[in-house]
């Protein structure tokens, strides 16, 4: 149980570090943290683990391969998430710039029609 919890805590800390370094956008990390907490708790329940294994026919299959696959996919997903976070930030910067240009045009038009402000 200690090792299972240690893995969950390590994953959670790694996720928080990625968020703190700005590599993953904080909102994107929320479902991940929920999943880590939920799976971390469930993994400490042997009855649930056995039930889940039976449901998907993993009772004596090479579990190590399954876990290796999951970790490779986790790596891919993290890389994609970091890329998505960077793209999203660039998109937000472009939208801000676009808004600044459009509002500047409107501001000029507004000032040319408005009476001078008092004070």
């Amino acid at each position: 149980m200690v090792i299972k919890l240690a893995i969950a805590v390590t994953l959670a800390v790694a996720l928080i570090l990625l968020v703190r370094r700005g590599l993953i956008q904080v909102d994107m990390s929320f479902p991940w943290l929920l999943a880590i907490v939920a799976l971390g708790i469930l993994s400490t329940q042997p009855a649930f683990v056995e039930w889940a294994a039976v449901q998907i026919d993993i009772v004596y299959a090479p579990i190590a391969i399954v876990f290796a696959t999951i970790f490779i996919l986790l790596g891919f997903a993290t890389t994609l998430l970091i890329g998505y976070t960077r793209l999203r930030q660039r998109q937000l910067d472009i939208v801000r710039r676009l808004a600044a240009l459009e509002l500047e045009r409107q501001e000029t038009a507004l000032r040319s029609h408005a009476p001078p402000a008092a004070g």
Partner: protein, 232 residues
């Protein structure tokens, strides 16, 4: 004081025209700026484009980006202050001069409209509990400098303070982070009591998942602030 009053909206159109008119009626120095955060309904026809600044975002990006756009515009075009009010008609426009007074007198950099919760909603105890948690945490990390109502969406900010806070990345529902960041940056934040009206239309975009995500984000922000404080 030349004041930019920005009104972010998501599908709220009923009160919008009256809000813009009420803002203009405050005086010639008050300019409304409506930012449509990707509404599914047409917002532009509800406002007079010849007297109101308007920008429609190409999708729903949240209040953080809306705030950045307003801060960018206010800083670049000679405004003295920026005020934010909600588009659903909950915030009293006539209270704006009271919010601006501490800024004009140089007593504050940011003035928050503290709501008296007269809504009488069934969820009020839960809401009070969550607000209490935000308030407690905010006041703890700012050593009592943060406002009590850190979730209020009705505030006025001096343009210099807005420019200073604009380098923080503001996300959806940015108010608690914004107010706490202002305190941590050494800006003076004060509160003015306001009477919040019941919502005139629509429903809050803050559902359970969003609320949990907001709580998570705020806790991450607090964690970051604590780590930075230890580094100092």
């Amino acid at each position: 004081m030349r004041t930019l009053v920005f009104i972010p909206t998501l599908n709220d159109t009923v009160a919008l025209s009256a809000l813009c008119t009420a803002v203009e009626a405050l005086g010639p120095g008050f300019v409304p700026l409506v930012i449509d955060d990707g509404s599914r309904v047409a917002v532009a026809p509800a406002i007079d484009r010849t007297r109101t600044l308007f920008f429609r975002l190409p999708g729903n990006y949240g209040l953080g980006l809306c705030s950045h756009i307003a801060f960018d515009h206010g800083s670049a075009h000679g405004y003295d202050a920026i005020v934010r009010i909600d588009a659903d008609g909950q915030h009293p426009v006539q209270a704006i001069p009271r919010l601006l007074a501490p800024l004009a007198e140089g007593r504050a950099d940011l003035v928050v409209g503290r709501r008296s919760d007269g809504e009488g909603l069934p969820a009020a105890p839960v809401r009070r509990l969550v607000r209490g948690y935000y308030s407690l945490l905010s006041r703890l990390i700012t050593r009592g400098a943060a406002p009590r109502d850190v979730n209020s969406g009705f505030f006025a900010i001096g343009v210099a303070a807005a420019a200073r806070l604009n380098h923080h990345t503001l996300e959806r529902y940015p108010e608690p982070e914004l107010f706490v960041a202002a305190c941590l940056e050494g800006l003076t934040v004060v509160e003015v009591a306001i009477e919040q009206s019941p919502r005139r239309e629509g429903v809050s975009t803050l559902n359970l998942f969003q609320a949990l995500r907001m709580l998570y984000r705020f806790n991450m922000f607090v964690l970051g602030a604590l780590l930075r404080a230890r580094r100092w």
